[in-house]
């Protein structure tokens, strides 16, 4: 069981690292979107400190959503996905491996780049730390929920726009608590704990149900 998971994970990582542009595009999209806001709303220190958490989270949402389309698309086009559905291994496990690979390539870089972005917005060290923890807990949830939408819109015309319509409403709780955690860190570090606990709860719930739902969606889309 675990071997299949590793096998799919390593395969997806290898494939993605052979075509590094895909990974880098997401990361640079994130950086560019975040850098655009100060140009639009003004560069005053106080305004940026208030806007920072929300902007970073919205940009993370959009970046993770843009990358979702590629989650199953390539495998769907060359028929690999059909073979995966047909294997004796549980499909949800294979899907979980693909989602993990997707998160390592699109979510984790956002977590690692967060301090740099935080400095652009003059966030304090504590706020940056909390932002990294919140992103670390929150971005996997984005990938997990997003996989359901990606599976449902597989191979549709204009799938990308449709995907955003389906998935963004479901992302809202993560956005609210993720940005809330960073804002709360400005008042008292202890206040961030309930936010992080809720994000952790989202992660556990998504880890449990999202792979099952995505594999059901894949079966619907492929049959």
């Amino acid at each position: 069981m675990l071997r299949v998971f590793w096998c799919v994970l390593l395969r997806d990582l290898t494939l993605a690292l052979r075509r590094r542009t895909d990974v880098l595009t997401t990361l640079f999209f994130f950086i560019i979107v975040v850098s655009l806001f100060p140009l639009g709303v003004g560069t005053e220190r106080q305004i940026l400190q208030i806007l920072g958490p929300g902007v970073v989270w919205v940009a993370a949402l959009l970046a993770s959503m843009l990358a979702l389309e590629r989650l199953f698309a390539a495998d769907y086009e060359d028929g690999t996905l059909e073979q995966m559905v047909l294997t004796a291994q549980p499909l949800s496990l294979l899907v979980l491996a693909k989602i993990t690979a997707h998160w390592l390539l699109t979510g984790l870089p956002l977590v690692l780049i967060a301090p740099l972005v935080g400095m652009q917005y003059h966030l304090s060290d504590d706020a940056i730390l909390i932002m990294m923890v919140a992103l670390l807990l929150g971005t996997p949830v984005l990938s997990l929920i997003g996989a359901i939408g990606a599976a449902l819109t597989l191979g549709l015309r204009g799938g990308g726009i449709l995907l955003s319509l389906l998935i963004l409403p479901l992302y809202i709780p993560v956005l609210v608590y993720g940005a809330g955690a960073v804002t709360a860190s400005g008042i008292d570090m202890a206040d961030t704990r309930p936010y992080l606990a809720l994000l952790g709860a989202f992660l556990v719930a998504a880890l449990t149900f999202a792979p099952l739902a995505s594999s059901a969606a894949l079966k619907i889309s492929i049959e």
Partner: protein, 257 residues
């Protein structure tokens, strides 16, 4: 094992051909019930209820929007649950009619969600001084509206009906997590700590006349949902079963008459 007569009886109506005439006969009944309940509820609401609501800082005549706002909000959530139930039944039993039912409910549900938001903003203007506020309940109701739109959009984006039905059904089931969120979005233990405009309420504390007309309008809206859903269902059945003989016979008969 032979199926029990009860079970076979139920599944007989799962065939579009046998449900189509029944739906046709039920629609006028539901329309009459809608008219009676709405007239009764609105009459009672406008003429038999106190002209203000609340104690120290009372809401004047404009509070009467409650008779549309609250029933619409209740129906918006209830219809989503019903839609998900039909979608789930469709996925489990693989019955075409259940998917069509879920499909027919969605627009009515979306309209009630929109109505709840719209009347809410009209009510908000005189009482809170704003058309919109990012109150948890408003926000979650808005998300519910997006969920309905997403369901309809996904269904219409997929050409293959079978895949569209099943994919949209799965999306609806995933979206069900939002309904308890809306329902409990007012569960704020201490009003001083969380500034929510919607407070926890208790039906037993509402004045009797107000409660009566609110429930009458709710029942009227419910009957309205039945009527419009069945009408939409009938046209869905005709469109999807257009290749079947019974539809063609029906059309020929209708043409001659």
């Amino acid at each position: 094992m032979t199926p029990s007569p009860m079970a076979s009886n139920w599944f007989r109506f799962a065939a579009p051909a046998s449900f189509y005439p029944i739906a046709g006969r039920l629609i006028p009944v539901f329309w009459i019930l809608t008219g009676v309940c709405l007239l009764a509820g609105l009459y009672w609401g406008f003429f038999q209820t106190p002209d203000q609501l609340g104690g120290s800082n009372a809401q004047k005549e404009y509070y009467r929007i409650i008779f549309i706002h609250v029933p619409a909000a209740w129906m918006s959530m209830w219809l989503y649950v019903v839609m998900v139930a039909w979608a789930a039944i469709g996925l489990v039993f693989n019955t075409r009619l259940s998917f069509m039912m879920a499909n027919a409910i969605a627009p009515t549900g979306a309209i009630f969600t929109f109505l709840a938001l719209w009347t809410g903003s009209f009510w908000g203007r005189p009482s809170w001084g704003t058309y919109w506020d990012w109150d948890p309940r408003l926000t979650t109701e808005l998300i519910l509206f997006f969920m309905y739109i997403g369901y309809i959009a996904l269904h219409s984006a997929i050409d293959d009906t079978r895949r569209a039905d099943r994919a949209a059904a799965l999306l609806a089931i995933v979206g069900l997590v939002m309904v308890p969120l809306i329902f409990w979005s007012v569960n704020c233990p201490d009003p001083n700590q969380c500034a929510a405009l919607h407070q926890r309420s208790n039906l037993t504390q509402i004045e009797g006349n107000i409660l009566f007309s609110m429930l009458a309008v709710t029942f009227g809206f419910w009957m309205y949902s039945f009527a419009t859903t069945l009408m939409r269902l009938r046209s869905l059945i005709l469109t999807r079963e257009a290749d079947n003989t019974w539809v063609q016979e029906l059309l020929v008969k209708g043409h001659r008459a």
